[in-house]
């Protein structure tokens, strides 16, 4: 048994097809962000990665329904609105991914018995949608002024049939890929807060993608900082 498991590891380590080489495809598309663009929500942000765009709105801390009340922390509700039709299982899964990431970074215990509602509206999907959701969510939560222990950002990596890693893939690149992974990364220690994967990949590929995402996250966090700085650049 032990022998065979070692074999398995060797197989994956030595497998020729699994070699990933760092190449010029590792880049992020154009980024854009606008904060406080809606008048009704307490915090709002739109985030675009290439053509993929998401609009996020946050309400809270607000009144909570008795059935959803938690006595020692705030109830966080995440709603994903698809562009066409009603939310389905896919949206539920995305909601869960976003909610768990937000719960990890928000200091929910500072607002017990209240509700936080985060609504994410797809404006256009051109790949890396989940990471765009998470980035928009982070900006909106920051705009709402909710207490957070750290920021988070997300990077999607695609591995194509040749074993090449592409970060922030477009919809076409996603379609061609063999495996697709999204990692949420926190701003203080660059640890992985959430991962969502699709397709098959080896252990070393997973590690490479995490490492690439951690590198890419630096750029995104710098972008966050720049946009907040720009916003507060006006002396009121």
């Amino acid at each position: 048994m032990t022998q065979s498991s070692c074999d398995a590891l060797h197989f994956f380590r030595g497998g020729g097809m699994m070699e990933v080489c760092g190449s010029s495809t590792v880049s992020l598309r154009e980024f854009g962000c606008e904060q406080s663009l809606l008048s009704r929500p307490d915090g709002s942000a739109s985030f675009t990665q290439g053509d993929t765009s998401v609009l996020a709105g946050v309400y809270g801390p607000a009144e909570v329904k008795v059935s959803k009340e938690i006595y020692d922390r705030a109830t966080l509700e995440v709603l994903v609105q698809p562009k066409v039709g009603l939310p389905s299982v896919r949206e539920r899964l995305q909601e869960q991914c976003v909610r768990e990431t937000c719960e990890a970074s928000l200091l929910l215990s500072l607002h017990p018995r209240s509700s936080l509602t985060l609504i994410l509206q797809v404006l256009h999907d051109d790949g890396s949608l989940l990471s765009c959701f998470l980035n928009a969510a982070c900006m909106a939560l920051m705009d709402a002024g909710l207490p957070m222990s750290c920021l988070f950002c997300a990077v999607t990596c695609a591995i194509d049939t040749d074993g090449q890693i592409t970060t922030d893939p477009t919809a076409a690149q996603e379609k061609e890929s063999r495996a697709l992974m999204t990692f949420a990364i926190d701003s203080t220690e660059r640890k992985v807060l959430m991962s969502s994967t699709k397709g098959s990949f080896s252990v070393s590929e997973l590690q490479q993608c995490i490492a690439v995402s951690q590198k890419a996250s630096e750029k995104i966090f710098q972008f966050y900082r720049d946009s907040v700085r720009r916003r507060y650049s006006k002396i009121l």
Binding site: S36, P112, M142, G145, C150, S187, Y224, R225, V228, L236
Partner: protein
Amino acid sequence: MFSRLKDKVGQVQLPGDEFSWEAEDTIPLTDPVRPERVVCGPGLRRSGDRLLVCKSGVLRHKQPNVFWIDSQQRRYVPAKGETVIGIVTAKSGDIFKVDVGGSEAASLSYLAFEGATKRNRPNVQVGDLVFAQFIVANKDMEPELTCIDSSGRANGMGVFGAGGLVFTVSLGLVRRLLSPLSEIRSDLDQLFPCELVVGMNGRLWVRSPSIQQTLIVANLLQSCDSMTAPQRRELFRRVQQGAL
């Protein structure tokens, strides 16, 4: 710690940023110095011996050692001692329920008005505005308001009279309006004489002789939200020339 914080005053901080102790902050044995105390306001959080930022905004400092993060937030979170404008939403028995824009309706006893007794109840209707102060406000308890100070006097608080307009602005503008040497307030004074009530929860109430003036003041204040001082002065100057 102190010097580290002072260096960063006026800079933009993001959640997760950290101020750590430095070696020189340790107390020298030879010299009996009292360790410096730092008072942390909103947006700063102590965790063990680390000081963490938990809101995005600009780090501010007030002599001698008060630090806080100035952020552009819209949702109000009740704090003890703050005065707010509330809307009465319900009367139930001995208390009024008041909406203050927080996560929970605050309660206001009918005895918490100047001169109120069991017999002599204050005349408060549902939908009325009250200017009141928080005597209980923490995250675990229902917030409680009062319309009298510790000596039993109204001190400016109570139910609003008829007329006037209430509207909402950002919490940052409210704080700027209430600062002792507020330029916005003095600029406005020169423009229109009006009654202005400022609630810490982002609600403003204005009353002036004519409806036209009230509307102008309300719109001016709302647009002040995102204007720098020169822009504002320019706007006020134009209004002064044009409107009157």
